[in-house]
């Protein structure tokens, strides 16, 4: 089940999505992390972040809204307190990084590159929950390219650039970050949404808007992954609404080299393992020996 995303080698194509699997340890009691393709940790910023005031989440039809506001312990605490635990596993550790300025991205990338046990950086240029910056980085091809270059200049690690779906032309952004040196492109982050509490006539989320995730967004994620794959040559990681092995296989058939599983972990902490098992069974049923023989077999 091993896959290669350029220099990044994974035991299997099933990764966790940032912000939905904590720092790994939260689910270590449910999932043997050694069985995962990779653990992508919660978005890290230079300094610890408080995050947004509650309420932060709301259920929607087939999904949920979140406005966590990137609460995290900061890159230094991560390296000291969380990384040692993750190092014990024979699974790729991918640090999802976030900044509000180019300089922040630069510093966070540098610190993580010096730390032992980080296998790649995933650059979140798309978090739609933080009022300042966030989305803006990922919605302009030039700015997205500049963030990519900034991070690339600081690290020798493979750089995954994670795109926001809240754009008119996702393929244009993808091409632009590819040109800027992105080694891998992952998508999608959450769609910006909101909901209204009719008892109070206030938003359900204190932050008013939040990021929509879960199976509700899968069709949009598949469409964007397909659009991007047709236009870039770097490996693509598919993200968005994956609950089952069939969902994951849809992305792989389109040509994604790997997938990230997010919200599904919340409703089924075994989701990642169930998806891995399910893919194995599908390959067996269809007498396909190598996972790579299914990737990109989409016909139209």
């Amino acid at each position: 089940m091993a896959v290669k995303l350029g220099r990044l080698k994974l035991n299997n194509p099933v990764m966790t999505a940032s912000g939905t699997f904590g720092y790994g340890e939260e689910y270590a009691g449910y999932v043997d992390l050694n069985r995962l393709g990779a653990v992508v940790v919660k978005g890290l910023s230079l300094k610890p972040r408080l995050g947004n005031p509650p309420p932060r989440i709301m259920e929607t039809t087939g999904g949920m809204l979140n406005s966590i506001g990137l609460q995290n312990i900061g890159v230094e605490a991560f390296i000291e307190e969380k990384l040692p635990f993750l190092r014990k596993y024979d699974t790729a550790v991918i640090a999802n990084i976030y900044g509000e300025t180019y300089d922040e991205f630069k510093k966070v990338a540098k610190k993580l590159s010096l730390a032992k046990g980080v296998h790649a950086l995933e650059v979140n240029i798309s978090c739609p929950n933080v009022k300042k910056g966030g989305a803006s980085f990922g919605t302009d091809p030039k700015i997205a390219a500049r963030v990519t270059r900034t991070v690339k200049d600081e690290t020798g690690l493979p750089v995954i650039v994670k795109l926001t779906p809240n754009v008119t032309d996702i393929a244009q952004i993808a091409e632009s970050v590819e040109k800027a040196g992105a080694d891998i492109i992952s998508l999608i982050n959450t769609l910006t949404g909101m909901s209204v509490d009719l008892n109070t006539r206030c938003p359900h989320l204190k932050n008013i808007t939040g990021g929509l995730s879960g199976p509700a967004i899968k069709p949009v994620a598949l469409r964007m992954v397909w659009q991007v794959i047709q236009r870039v040559s770097v490996p693509v990681i598919g993200i968005g609404g994956i609950m089952t092995a069939e969902d994951a296989l849809e992305f792989l058939v389109l040509g994604a080299k790997a997938v990230e599983i997010g919200t599904a972990n919340f409703v089924n902490p075994h989701a990642t393992l169930d998806v891995i098992e399910g893919i194995k069974n599908y390959l067996a049923d269809h007498k396909i020996k190598d996972i790579n023989d299914i990737i990109g077999t989409f016909r139209n």
């Binding site: 939260e26 449910y30 005031p53 932060r56 989440i57 259920e59 087939g62 919200t263 919340f266 902490p269």
Partner: protein
């Protein structure tokens, strides 16, 4: 963490009141013995609607060599709990638990005071049962508040566990008239902060007014909070509550993993 996912089989799901139900769920013996105040995330349907699991406190727990029985006392307030109430015997549910940190049952003073508002009686009921066993000599007083007589729930069990029970309702249709915090405040002089442990669970408004009362004095209290949850295991940061940190700065703690039981003094109210 010893919590895990279990396929539970509903052995009973009875209405104990207009819109409160008692659900008994059989799970495998490997289910860890829960502490009072811990909860489970219950996935109601295998389907995606409703999408998220729902957090419910463990009301009671028992085991034999073949299986464990988890009891949940819950109120129908919306879609998820309505579906729970509709589940028949033998239907299956996914249970994730036991989750969260329970009440501190080690450093218990000789006077124990429980303050329960509405369905908040659920976790306190298990706590009472537990403390009765572990601290038979401390004297216990339980204050139960309900909206009205027909909203009363879980009281018989409390009566079984403790003689000293005060009941009140917002409209006076049963017991004293008034909010449970007001009733407690009347008695507060009877208690001495140094030798009294206070435990409370109930609606936010109730806990907030309890905070007003206690923070004037030296009393501290352990309270169980509620917030919407997605993961229940500390991974999503969705169930944040504003807490006064060691260094007295504001921090957002996770009700599921850092709580649901907090020291009332540490909670920062809006």
């Amino acid at each position: 963490m010893a919590a895990n996912i279990y396929i539970g089989e509903i052995s009973e799901n009875e209405a104990v009141q207009d819109n409160c139900f008692l659900m008994k769920i059989k799970v495998a013996p490997s289910f860890q013995n829960p502490l009072p105040g811990q909860f489970v995330m219950i996935r109601i349907a295998g389907l995606n609607d409703p999408f998220l699991s729902r957090p419910i406190s463990i009301y009671s727990f028992s085991r034999n060599e073949n299986y464990c029985v988890i009891e949940l006392l819950y109120q129908v307030v919306g879609k998820g709990t309505r579906i729970m109430a509709g589940l028949i015997e033998d239907s299956q549910v996914e249970i994730n638990g036991p989750l969260g940190n329970g009440f501190d049952t080690l450093s218990v003073k000789e006077n124990i005071v429980m303050i329960a508002g509405g369905i908040g009686i659920a976790p306190l009921s298990m706590l009472t049962e537990n403390l009765r066993r572990t601290h038979p000599l401390s004297n216990m007083m339980i204050y139960n508040g309900f909206q009205n007589a027909s909203a009363v729930v879980g009281l018989d069990n409390m009566r079984r566990l403790c003689r000293n029970i005060s009941v009140c309702t917002d409209d006076g249709t049963m017991g004293e008239k008034g909010f449970v915090t007001q009733i407690f405040q009347k008695d507060i002089k009877q208690y001495v902060p140094e030798n009294t442990s206070i435990y409370a669970c109930g609606p936010g408004a109730m806990l907030k007014s309890l905070a007003k009362i206690l923070n004037k004095s030296k009393f501290s209290a352990q309270v169980s909070l509620e917030e919407r949850m997605a993961c229940g295991v500390g991974a999503c940061m969705g169930c944040a509550v504003a807490i006064r940190d060691k260094d007295c700065t504001l921090a957002f703690k996770r009700v599921c993993a850092d709580g649901p039981v907090f020291n009332l003094r540490d909670i920062i109210w809006e």
